[in-house]
Symmetry: C3
Subunit: 243 residues, 3 copies
């Protein structure tokens, strides 16, 4: 699956909805056992959540958007497919979240491609299920530090902290991803799927149980004047940069 939502694979509501529908189809197609997620956009895996969906809209829109983000995570994290992330570009925030749901993560060795949950830098807070996914991957202490400081790890550090499994030369990312998925698909499917479900059930259930509450938290947090102002400022600065 090659992400292609110009310019930087931002997770707009429309793009999220497309991803969820595609995943559902693949999940139901019994001839399909594994999936490599990667980017068709040069230099960016995914820029993450779409701030334009969180800024200057109605509470109903925020709620709809957040439900779509939850839905994507639940589908990816609980997927019965083998998921391999071939991370061929920058991978902040929501992009990192998608990578973290994979079974195996390969990062291109380019100092511009860093990966992490950098929400605090924008003055916002990763929700508890982003946090749980990160803790499951790199442990409690490293997650506490990374989330508070909004750390984006360049390749060598990313490998060391364990947020990715492999760092390889940029031109080899896709071939290494193919080797990795072959290794995972060599395991009897049913046993692998039950094992994956066992490992991830408690974490997924936490969101499933608190889903509405989590939407309400997001809507009331994002609707605050102070948050709206800082998001607007950030978006304007982004526009100027491009202009």
């Amino acid at each position: 699956m090659r992400f292609n939502n110009p310019p930087v694979n931002t997770l707009s509501l429309e793009f999220l909805t497309e991803l969820v529908i595609s995943l559902e189809k693949l999940e139901n197609d019994k001839s399909f056992r594994g999936l490599i997620i990667t980017s068709d956009r040069p230099g960016v895996f995914s820029a993450g959540l779409d701030l334009r969906e969180m800024c200057g809209r109605s509470p109903a829109h925020y709620a709809e958007y957040w439900k779509a983000v939850q839905e994507l995570w639940l589908r990816l994290y609980q997927s019965s497919l083998v998921l391999v992330a071939a991370i061929n570009g920058a991978c902040p925030a929501g992009g990192c979240l998608m990578a973290l749901t994979s079974d195996h993560r390969i990062l291109a060795d380019n100092p511009k491609y860093s990966i992490g949950l950098n929400e605090t830098l924008l003055g916002i807070v990763a929700p508890f299920w982003f946090k749980d996914t990160l803790v499951n991957t790199i442990g409690h202490r490293a997650a506490e530090r990374a989330l508070q400081l909004g750390l984006l790890f360049p390749p060598a550090q990313a490998l060391q902290v364990g947020i990715v499994d492999q760092v390889v030369p940029e031109e080899r990312v896709q071939s290494v991803a193919l080797s990795a998925i072959a290794q995972w698909m060599a395991i009897p499917d049913h046993a692998r799927q039950l094992t994956k479900a066992m490992m991830r059930k408690a974490t997924a259930s936490r969101l499933i149980t608190h889903r509405d509450e989590d939407v309400q938290n997001f809507v009331s947090f994002i609707s605050r004047d102070s948050i709206q102002k800082s998001l607007q400022l950030y978006l304007e600065r982004l526009k100027q940069k491009k202009g």
Copy 2:
């Protein structure tokens, strides 16, 4: 305690029952404070659970067998003794589980001696308490990967991932085990035992609370036609290998 159930210390129902009785005696003997578990069989610590107890038998037999496996784990994991595993041979599946219940693990540096929970390779699934024991030892992410891929770690990798504490030349395994147990027994017994119980209580309680359910899960899973067929195939191939 030297395992000696020829040829490869497979955990048959009879062997499990003997182990549990021996452990109970040692636990009640107040002159006894520590125990080194090791193998008397060349090249194998323990081959793990006995597939012959899980294949072509009655549901009642499966239930009896599984209760014995649970019982061994509960006794080892909650033992008030210092347990040191001197792993002087291959250590897959149930053999690895026993090693994981120890306070300290020493693996002989022989590339043939690998250690891990490789259940998925046989098309079966490690139960949640095998998983919990592994997560407690090597963390969530490494356990997720190891369990899904059914990884057997050779010595250098075993040390790196933390599934063992030391790798030493084969001829030194027993002497290093004696030094290790001396270090652990130098700690005031009562404080050490209370600390160990505190560390392990939540994990042990999870099985104690769900014990019957876990037996039922095992019996219904192992009784499936597809599982029985794949176990039979595997056993026949093993016989041919030996023949």
Copy 3:
């Protein structure tokens, strides 16, 4: 905040009460965003809990003392301030606990300055919330080993196991602490505080929910004849050493 309770910053009831009051003031002072905790006593960060408060006193005194220890931990662990520990001396037991509540730990590179929860060596047991704090920092397996053996890690080992974040030459501890706190204070305060609270809430809640029970456990454990005798012996040996 420079600890100065001669000779070795032992956490007496009086010193604990002072610390809690100071922390409360700083927490309520909106001009205050971060705090470096360090020692004014040469060679010792803090010797930890005061055994004289636990020996030869009334159950009511033990209860009062333990509530004060709980209170200090709850304030430090849930502090909305950035806390950096500049560990410029030995850091056993309760001293280690304070360091573990910080956001960032810097240890002076002096082989005499070791850090750890060494309670078992005195025949006593770290309570579950000391254990939880350590597990959150270094993981379950390393904590199980360190707590049972009462390990005190010298600088290189402390860094390797992750009980501290940096080891630096003794004369640079304070300047490195200033750089570290500047890095943490560069993050938008509100987002950082919410993220910290999210990471630590479950652990803090466990004590808050079981606070009275934990006091009762401590009082009944510490009142035992065997524990009192071993503490008395230890205190007498300490006096002789000094004499």
